[in-house]
Assembly symmetry: C3
Homo-oligomer: 215 residues x 3
């Protein structure tokens, strides 16, 4: 396994922490789970994107080679369990933490793909997959339609953040500042999208779900 | 990675295109998604079967080594988004495209497994998994019971198509015509099953879902 | 691939059989599926945990290198299809078989991780993931909230069984008796938890699902 650069590692652990808090708070909101269930959903949300990324890269998932990911994810889940039950409304922190994880993972996923020698288009796609992967597993497990399908501007900011990372690397301008900037750009687009309920073009009319069976 | 034969590649890209159209039309029918959500579901449906196949083979998913798959999948999703909203009824094309993808992937999945040196039984299973994999991911993401569980004659034609491929290869009769024939056989069985609502034997009586919790 | 020890192999096949029965009976209870759907859910439940384990270990999934797993899983599914439709109530056997599979896979998953050279903490996590993995796929496919999230004491006994395995190996006390003991310990905790409806600490109050959208 290629050793990740310190910048990627730091941003990756930060994203892991944000998604662990997010997943655990989602568990608190969606169902009355015990502490193990809450922490489990936090850990899956936190590690899911990176695991999908590494499976697609066909390298050993970094989670099982670097204990820090698991420790950060479990700590985030526990902290959310303890603090979350005191919060009156969980929607706002859940949304912000999800956007933070999305942004950080889009950047680190693209960066890791480049480190492993993938081409620019593949790095962009893999960055976006890393960003949306953990949240998609989370949504499937709690039986919600995944944000990446239902939610305005979710994949788009991830693609933008990953593209910014790839372009910066092509220009030899990669570094902590660039990575943080790319993540901030993704975060901003996502939060503006949430605030103003923006979305990509819709179909001109929604065909009603017709009642015939699918098969 | 073993280079795929030109025949396998062509059929594989055709199956990718069929499933991309199918997934995107499903997205249009099931929910009012924006263009990104529609294309995303198309791409996941199109690439899902091959990714699961390559993960089970423990080789790098071909999707990320060959940009043509991603391009074909994205193009299919976009075409379906543009054309699908003009369609009055989506059920028929969705069913036909799903059967086409199922058939093509059952054949190419079995062929790829044989190319990589797996035994005949494993190649049959892997062909069927490739055929049903993308549609299963699609159904989980839009919260439907997967076709492979609920739908009459879905896994069976995939197993038949994969078996025909394995037998033809054992008889040294593989080639474009044989592959197309095996896919056509699978497609025919599936469509006959849909038309006449055929299914494998049912339990003699359906035990009602009893109300006790599962645990 | 490292050859598994005979003890691990025997326990692994036993767990495969238990989960195949469990998954197929779940299919009978949850929906009126035909024989192919019932066997398919049995096979996925039986093989899912080991496949997730091997994907996380980045080794070829043993299922596709050792036909015995597939044969045992398919046989279990068929037996459950034939015998299950005569059963009046399926809840009790489903619960017991699930606990048996959970226990056996937690032990064999941890053992396999140790054989492949992973550290103790990772072996514990991987054992638990192996134990809960197949049932989680099963629950997602039939659209139930996964037991690992919803159910009292489900991950906890798996973690205990995996930890016992790791400790025994560290003390050079591994062997058939120890492995069976660790599995029995896990099974006992799980069944006591089911019987008395035990669970880990809950949040002090359940925040109602607030009505704002997630994004």
């Amino acid at each position: 396994m290629t050793a990740a650069s310190p910048v990627l590692l730091a941003l990756d652990l930060l994203g892991t922490f944000a998604f662990a808090l997010n997943g655990a708070l989602t568990a608190l909101r969606v169902a009355r789970l015990d502490v193990v269930g809450v922490v489990t959903l936090g850990v899956i949300t936190a590690l899911g994107g990176g695991i999908i990324r590494d499976v697609l890269l066909d390298v050993p998932p970094v989670t099982f080679n670097d204990w820090r990911y698991l420790a950060v994810a479990a700590a985030g889940g526990l902290i959310a369990f303890v603090s979350g039950r005191g919060l009156d409304r969980l929607s706002a922190p859940i949304t912000v933490l999800d956007a933070a994880g999305l942004s950080l993972f889009a950047v680190t996923g693209a960066g890791r793909a480049l480190e492993l020698g993938l081409g620019p288009a593949q790095a962009v796609v893999l960055g976006a997959v890393t960003g949306v992967g953990g949240g998609t597993l989370r949504d499937v497990l709690v039986r919600q339609v995944p944000s990446v399908l239902s939610s305005g501007l979710y994949a788009v900011p991830a693609l933008v953040g990953a593209t910014a990372t790839v372009v910066a690397t092509a220009l030899d301008a990669e570094g902590p500042g660039t990575a943080a900037g790319a993540a901030a750009l993704c975060f901003l687009i996502r939060m503006v999208g949430v605030r103003y309920d923006l979305h990509a073009p819709l179909p001109s009319r929604a065909p009603g779900p017709d009642e015939e069976g699918r098969d």
